[in-house]
Symmetry: C2
Subunit: 317 residues, 2 copies
Amino acid sequence: MTAPNPRIGIIGTGAIGGFYGVMLARAGYDVHFLLRSEYETVLQRGLRINSTVHGSLHLDAVQAYRSAADMPKCDWLLVGAKSTSNPELAPLIVEAAGEDAKVVVLQNGLRVEEDLRQVLPNNIHLLGGLCFICAHRSALGVVEHQALGGVNLGYHSGSAATLEQQQALVEEGVAMFRAVGVDSNAADNLVQARWQKLVWNVPYNGLSVLLDAGTAPLMSNPDSRALVRSIMLEACGAAAACGHPLPDVLVDRMMMATDHMPNYLPSMYHDHAHGRPLELDAIYAAPLVAAANAGFAMPKTEALYQALCFIAGRAAR
Amino acid sequence: MTAPNPRIGIIGTGAIGGFYGVMLARAGYDVHFLLRSEYETVLQRGLRINSTVHGSLHLDAVQAYRSAADMPKCDWLLVGAKSTSNPELAPLIVEAAGEDAKVVVLQNGLRVEEDLRQVLPNNIHLLGGLCFICAHRSALGVVEHQALGGVNLGYHSGSAATLEQQQALVEEGVAMFRAVGVDSNAADNLVQARWQKLVWNVPYNGLSVLLDAGTAPLMSNPDSRALVRSIMLEACGAAAACGHPLPDVLVDRMMMATDHMPNYLPSMYHDHAHGRPLELDAIYAAPLVAAANAGFAMPKTEALYQALCFIAGRAAR
């Protein structure tokens, strides 16, 4: 294929940013990677994706940057860093964003776009991206891609005045991902899409930390399986109470999909194992607050969150 | 004091059986200890209690037995073993019980007397004992007594036909404990007393295992503290739904009492650390079933129980 026009910046080249950045760059897109601790390694050795789906992918000549000020102005910025870094990333995003840029927040949880929106000029479009992918970073510049890989996009805010303009921008992003072999769809309702993703993330992320276990053991023990299911149902109930009802079959479908996944350790497990901050605000606190404001109780989710706060607080001491 | 009459048997000489047995024996009671793994050590070195309340107590000439068949028939039997051992202990209790013996189950949780009752001849009196003590076994034949020490007694079942007869038997036990310096009171309603104790045990036992923490860190972190409190409130609600309302001030009083305790690792923590079975049935499953039968939900307690089942199941694998 010929190189398409848009210039793409990757803010946070971890598992998510690294995977999508490499997929886009290998297909000929002009991709620029902002890196911190991995800068030297990636400059010398490039980026590698060990994928059970695509095989071993290597990007040799990586356009790598230590500073956002050195990056060219980008048309699309994919934010793959953890939501816990958003306050410090915000100025870098502004710096790397071109006129009328599209910024896609590839993060889990609720309210991850709100803080970022405060600091972005209004001409910049903010989109949310929901990644359905099993991937983690195994070494500097190396991503293990275990399964899936899709990303759904929804418009959050910016200067697109009409719904048609917003949809056109989303379709532009969807087409870009599809062009490089990544499954992608438009999410008409971003908040609902975020709730839907939470139905998976709320049980598995936290329980993987609390019980030191991946999806397979959590699903094969009848008690933890029942706990996963009831936390999923709480998230569905909260979504409905907040005005974003989800399909009735969602929980059964997610349980079944997880049964068919390889044993997966969610991102929070890796964050905890490496002493990194946990995404507790986006995945737990924000949904709990939204549910409480709507008069809906999520007691098992709250218990899990409180236990995780203890673990995180103690780890930070 | 002169040696009182009753002959006392200790079934399960762990922290609880060891502590009360030594207190009774040192005061002159005729106490006989049934032991398993500690038999040889106790025979050679006796029993030691390192107590912050009573100082260092040593019982030198321990009347120790490997087999219940070798024990003399006892008037009182104090069952200090874990409730998880009750099925295998039942025949030993029958063997060591004299005519009209009083068997006191010094265990936590609900329904701990029920199974035992099935195998005891009707002439034997079954009592429940609620121990308010911070103690654990630190080595073979050695008990660390950290704080408190009281034991409240209530009549469960047996041949005492009238309430007066039952109360007289309970008072006999209360007087025996008081005579050796152990705080003791009659519990008029044994089931209510068991629920009241559960209000403490349900949060702290499980959370100590799940979060690998004693009472002090659990109480000093605001999130785990809130979790403890809400689980206590669930236990109070369940007790009330089951027809045993507890005093309104109980939760605040227990929180405050725990704040003033030394950092305490509950028995379930030690059981888990040593790979012993956890008392999940008595402390979690039985209360959850009782609450559910009364139409009362305990979601945070259930989440904790489900997480503990996962941990126990995995540990047993």
